[in-house]
Amino acid sequence: MTRLPQPFIVRLDAAFRSGPPVVTCEIAAGDGADPDDVIRRARLVRDHVDAVNVPDNTAGVVHMAAWAASILLAREGVDPIMHLTCRDRNRMALQSDLLGAAALGVRNILCLTGDHMVHGDHPGAKPVFDLDSLQLLGLADVLRHGRYLSGREIKPAPDLFPGATENPFAPPYDFRPLRLQKKVEAGARFIQTQITFNVERFAAFMARVRDLGLDQRVPILAGVAPLRSARAARYMRERVPGMEVPEDIVRRMEQAGSERTRREEEGIRICVETIERLREIRGLAGFHLMPIHWEEAVSEISARARLMPARASLAAVPAIVRDDAADALHNRPREHRA
């Protein structure tokens, strides 16, 4: 089997097996067909994270295909996590996209239901939703074990590392940990959560997750994001369904005023404080940064919160040695801990 040349240093699953907290980051998908835009964003974050998420038409707004952006990232030496949503594809398209991604060396797939198109730029488009995120996880698992959904054999079986999301901040709160359990049972190998502002609610969610023993079965990354202004905080609270921004955070952003450096500084400070508080919660494998069109903030947050992803600790090592280092990480299984 021919493999494309891949400059990957540490792949996501290897990072999960290594000691330090794993850090992933979501970048804005390419708007238009300009590869330089994606590459610029990738370069801003690549030395601070283990893997980079590429969204799939987030919020129902059309962007460059996630697999294409994933390839651009891979060329930059970043292990991509490709988002795959059920909004725009039926089960046949999902299977062919999963195989295509695997053929190109994109193996980390975040399986999502997808934001509904009513809030996007094509509200009149036909919603597909042939499968839901859980069924998509099951589908990825079937493919990974060498079968199509039809039962036909795939040789060799595609190398996939499917992940899932969970939102601890949306009702029904009691059901969220159980839904996470369902996702793990369906085949999720890693979990990234919605952005955390309400740490208490996240702690309660994690307590239940630990009771169910899920933190022992899959690495869980807590979502965090820096706010850029009080307006952004209010927008998230009021307009983004499933997002919880507590009043005191909005107030802190308001008190920072309208001057850009001050409000951005406050946003980063809140984000770093959130990371520090999340560190006290047992059962987390790391953090997932969602800088929402503000990739420049990632290096600052990473430095201040002393995030040392497995990959960053190898950045100074010459390229030839890196493969060995990656192997060393591979062969040194350790409990994942934040």
Partner: protein
């Protein structure tokens, strides 16, 4: 809990497709009217009402059959239809009253769209409702 029909019954209906079709023609109008009225049925043909707290999951704009999406509003309403209570918030609440409350944790396979519009009752009797999809 899942509905289990004795194998001989299933076999009988599978062996006599003409008979099940005739029975369906008779039953379908009543089934459709009754379920539409009581549950807002969308006639997917693979009823899982009893496993989702007697709440039809096909009322969800994303037709989610395995639980709520991440976009449920703080007040428990749907992100797509703000005036509607999330189907899964209702399903979760109602399922607690059922003796088989654990059924909501079952992973539901993808829908077989070729059964949509057909009688779920006949599909249960002939074993069609349990598809092989993930």
């Amino acid at each position: 809990m899942s509905i289990s029909v004795p194998a001989p019954v299933r076999g009988f209906f599978l062996r006599h497709p003409g008979l099940s079709r005739a029975l369906e023609i008779v039953i379908l109008p009543f089934e459709t009217a009754g379920k539409k009225l009581a549950f807002g049925c969308k006639m997917c043909g693979q009823c899982i009402l009893h496993e989702t707290g007697m709440t039809c999951p096909m009322g969800c704009p994303k037709t989610l059959r395995n639980g709520p999406c991440g976009g449920v509003r703080m007040n428990g309403h749907c992100e797509v239809v703000p005036e509607m209570m999330c189907v899964w918030v209702k399903a979760e609440r109602r399922s607690r009253w059922l003796p088989w409350r654990g059924a909501i944790l079952k992973i539901q396979p993808g829908l077989d769209w070729s059964l949509s519009g057909r009688s779920a009752w006949i599909n249960v009797l002939s074993g069609h409702h349990e598809s092989e999809a993930p």
